[in-house]
């Protein structure tokens, strides 16, 4: 084997000579787990035990205090929750609506903006800076900011509508407009994320298929539909996956704009908000654990379905 000289030798490395201490040799041999184990133990300790406990609590009638005596009730909580059409199923519906509608807007708008930014032009740097700002802003503060803008009496939103002759809207205060308004806030904050991911995907595409299609006389739309989009599909699915997980679990902006329980009529009460309220406002640990286990299964299920789609897109 050819010897490669690097400056490292000059700085003097601890070479594995017979006088290398035993522990150092042991460490080098077992470095795979020595390096990986602390992080894995940390995560496992904070996940496995709590999750197992949540699973156990979901089979009990625990309430009031986690320290209080509770009785094992089998799957009664599950039957109760799954037949609860007052809070549980509406929350499932809102979670689904919130996630699907927000994702739809974020992917379509994100794709449009990414395509606009694809080819270099003067001032692109500044547009990118603007795109980054909502993304890094603290979600709770963003919620408060929109709360002022959407205030029915003093908010900027109704003022702007007034200029174009549209009457004031209730926005967050309306029983039916609250959820769409929170979806709008999510779209404002997270479309930039989709833009960045898709832009990274677009920049990594090779130019040749584009050129070939152009020479064949394909129109701009045809090139997008039949060349760019199929090649970009794996990245689109990654964007949906990453955004989808977070959208399902949205909490901060809902809590900041509507407070506990998703508002007085539970207008924006998604599964996460519902479970939080059951745990920390009502101390219904048994029922809340049941909701959380079902919620967790929904998240895993949707991820699994998307990953399967991604593998398909790769073929």
């Amino acid at each position: 084997m050819a010897t490669v000289t690097t400056p490292a030798r000059a700085t003097g490395g601890a070479s594995e000579t017979p006088d290398t201490p035993g522990w150092a040799r042991w460490a080098n041999e077992h470095r795979k787990w020595l390096f990986a184990a602390p992080a894995m133990i940390f995560v496992a300790a904070l996940i496995v035990f709590p999750l197992a406990w949540t699973g156990y609590l979901s089979l009990t009638d625990a309430e009031g205090s986690v320290r209080a005596e509770s009785e094992f009730v089998g799957f009664r909580n599950y039957l109760d929750v799954l037949s609860d059409t007052e809070r549980f199923w509406p929350a499932v519906g809102r979670t689904a609506t919130f996630t699907v509608v927000a994702l739809l807007f974020e992917v379509v708008l994100g794709m449009a903006v990414a395509l606009l930014l694809w080819r270099p032009f003067k001032g692109q740097k500044w547009v990118r800076v603007a795109i980054l700002m909502p993304l890094v802003a603290t979600p709770v503060a963003v919620g408060m900011m929109w709360r002022l803008i959407f205030d029915p009496n003093i908010g900027l939103a109704n003022q702007v509508l007034g200029w174009v002759g549209i009457g004031p809207q209730p926005w967050l205060a309306g029983q039916h407009s609250a959820l769409p308004t929170t979806i709008f806030i999510d779209v404002w904050q997270w479309t930039p994320m989709v833009v960045l991911i898709l832009l990274a995907g677009l920049t990594s595409l090779s130019e040749e298929p584009q050129e070939a299609a152009r020479i064949d006389g394909a129109s701009t739309w045809q090139r997008f539909r039949h060349v760019t989009l199929p090649l970009l599909m794996p990245t689109v699915i990654v964007a949906i996956l990453l955004r989808g997980i977070d959208a399902l679990k949205t909490f901060d902006i809902l809590y900041a704009t509507k407070g506990r329980g998703g508002g007085s009529f539970h207008e924006v009460e998604t599964l996460n908000v519902y479970a939080y309220g059951l745990s920390f406002d009502y101390n219904e640990y048994g029922v809340s654990s049941t909701v959380l286990i079902i919620f967790f299964l929904i998240i895993i299920g949707s991820m699994w379905a998307l990953t399967a789609r991604r593998k398909e897109a790769h073929r």
């Binding site: 490395g13 601890a14 390096f35 990986a36 992080a39 980054l132 991911i197 900041a256 919620f295 895993i300």
Partner: protein
């Protein structure tokens, strides 16, 4: 091929609309933070008003925000350093030994709904008399930043050629020596990316601090709610508080834009 002139005009207009709709709300928030509540309620004074710094005096002095800024900084900093210490070696091992299943364990932390962990955490940590202290806050924020560090660094190490380490081994370094003297110095950009992202996500985290922090240890996102009363809202103070929380993080992002973008899009274009 140069784009057609009509497209160029369209692009300028469209991007102007995008930039305006992203920045205008933030500028509005900052503007409102310099208004008196009387001016905020007077829609005629939307753009023309005499600026005041009273709201910031309220936020920093009366509302004790200097302390909460310190809390947020300390928790985000400690969680980031601890996550890097645990996460960078772990990501290295997972990348070099192709431990994809182990990586999945760590990434589970990103998927799990935080609420499902909070009840058991609360119970355990209150038995240990840790609820309301910094320790439990830092641990819970690490739960957010560690998976991020592992994810970003795995991608980084995947792209770092192994030949450099092999050369170092030939030159007599041990495996751990090669990691310390060759790989780590070469990974500084990746570590910077992971560290910055971890700091931002910890700074912005709300739910864990909402449950686990105490009156003296609460972080900025929780402290914002001090300005929301049952009956009325101090809009000027609230917007000043929101600005104090978001502005530092936006300035950081402005200066290290490249790192933030590469961290957010890490792994997105891989097969």
């Amino acid at each position: 091929m140069k784009p057609r002139p009509t497209y160029r005009v369209f692009r300028v207009v469209a991007l102007a609309v995008v930039v305006l709709s992203l920045l205008a709300p933030l500028l509005w928030m900052v503007a409102a933070s310099f208004k008196t509540n009387v001016d905020i309620y007077d829609t005629g004074k939307a753009l023309v008003f005499s600026p005041t710094t009273d709201n910031y005096v309220t936020v920093l002095k009366q509302a004790n925000y200097v302390q909460f800024i310190g809390n947020s900084l300390w928790v985000a900093f400690a969680a980031t350093v601890a996550s890097l210490l645990l996460g960078v070696p772990a990501a290295y091992s997972m990348s070099r030994f192709n431990m994809r299943k182990s990586a999945l364990v760590v990434l589970m932390a990103r998927v799990i709904p935080g609420v499902s962990l909070l009840v058991p955490w609360y119970y355990v940590f209150s038995n240990l008399k840790m609820v309301g202290g910094f320790g439990v806050l830092i641990l819970s924020h690490m739960f957010v930043s560690l998976p991020l560090v592992v994810y970003i660094m795995m991608g980084y190490f995947d792209g770092l050629p192994e030949e450099l380490e092999e050369a170092a081994l030939v030159d007599g370094l041990t495996h751990i020596g090669a990691f310390r003297r060759i790989t780590l110095p070469l990974s500084v950009p990746g570590i910077a990316t992971a560290g910055i992202l971890s700091f931002i996500f910890s700074w912005n985290n709300f739910m864990f601090a909402l449950v686990l922090s105490g009156a003296d240890t609460k972080t900025l996102p929780v402290a914002i709610f001090d300005f929301v009363g049952y009956a009325s809202i101090d809009w000027g103070g609230l917007m000043a508080a929101a600005t104090v929380v978001t502005l530092p993080i936006m300035l950081i992002a402005l200066f290290v834009q490249k790192y933030v973008v590469s961290g957010l899009t890490a792994g997105a274009t891989k097969g």
